[in-house]
């Protein structure tokens, strides 16, 4: 076995180890989806919208109740 093949093997092993290290470094837990971008500000947006939609649905049911009552009152008169 000559010296050039040994250096080849060592450099190959070094490249393999480096690849492994890089792959570990890139193995991030947090996924890069929209909701985690910009410091997760979109989570706040989602929460805010949930509350607005929830209250809107609640007030809409109130509105329908009132409309039904108005109709009944008109029928009575």
């Amino acid at each position: 076995m000559n010296t050039s093949s040994i250096t080849k093997k060592i450099s190959l092993a070094a490249v393999a180890i480096l690849c492994m290290l890089f792959s570990f470094a890139q193995d991030k837990v947090e996924m890069a989806d929209t909701f985690r971008s910009n410091g997760k500000i979109y989570v706040v947006v989602a929460v805010c919208l949930t509350i607005l939609i929830g209250l809107f649905i609640y007030v809409t049911t109130l509105d329908r109740k009132l409309r039904r009552m108005e109709k009944e009152m008109k029928n009575e008169n």
Binding site: K40, V43, V44, A46, V47, T50, I51, G54
Partner: protein
């Protein structure tokens, strides 16, 4: 507004102004509902029964909104491991306690709906409402403080009160948080009074002034 820079939470700390305010509002409305139930039992005035019912409904709506917003928040802050899912995260003592509290109030409305006699309905549901209010304390105030949880306020997180102890909440957050609590609660009270006025108009023949 400037907020503290925290790991994991990042900008979601601003949810304090929404998620926590829902629970504060819910608690305030349930206290009002509890007081009106006691007033009904002592006076027998059906007006007080309508007040108690309506405040309990709006309180439950706020509780459901608080639960949903909490689930969204937890999905992006508590789920840190890829093997975890939202389902595994939601098995939290704090969350189960809150779900029990909301379901007890849901049973209050089922109970109300099962009576045809107005006076009997008002009397039995007023008693149930007082018990439901009493059940809030173990389910959302005591048990979550006794067992470990990811939610702030559990023994593991080194604080006594969820998001209220001085170790937990920054003074910069308090400037917005307290007005937000007052604002959301007043909004809920306003919607409730609208609902009460509709109900009083509808039943004006039955209710003695």
């Amino acid at each position: 507004m400037e907020v503290p820079h925290l790991h994991i939470l990042n900008e979601t700390i601003r949810n304090l102004y929404f998620h926590v305010c829902m629970w504060f509002g819910m608690m305030i409305l349930f206290i009002v509902s509890f007081i009106y139930s006691i007033k009904y039992l002592s006076s027998g005035n059906l007006r007080h029964d309508i007040f108690a019912k309506t405040y309990a409904i709006t309180g439950t709506v706020l509780g459901v909104l608080g639960y949903i917003t909490g689930a969204i928040w937890a999905n992006y802050t508590w789920v840190t491991d890829q093997s975890q899912s939202l389902g595994s995260i939601l098995k939290e003592p704090k969350l189960i306690g809150a779900a029990i509290a909301i379901l007890i109030y849901a049973a209050y409305f089922v109970l109300r709906g099962s009576f045809t006699d107005m006076d009997k309905r008002a009397r039995v549901s007023a008693v149930y409402n007082i018990f439901a209010f009493a059940m809030l304390f173990p389910s959302i105030w005591i048990i979550p403080r006794m067992v470990g949880s990811l939610h702030p306020g559990a023994p593991g997180s080194d604080s006594g009160n969820p998001a209220l102890s001085f170790n937990d909440i920054d003074s910069k957050l308090r400037v917005v948080f307290y007005p937000a609590v007052i604002g959301w609660s007043l909004l809920a009270v306003w919607i409730t009074t609208l609902k009460i006025r509709i109900e009083l108009l509808r039943d004006k023949d039955l209710i003695s002034k």
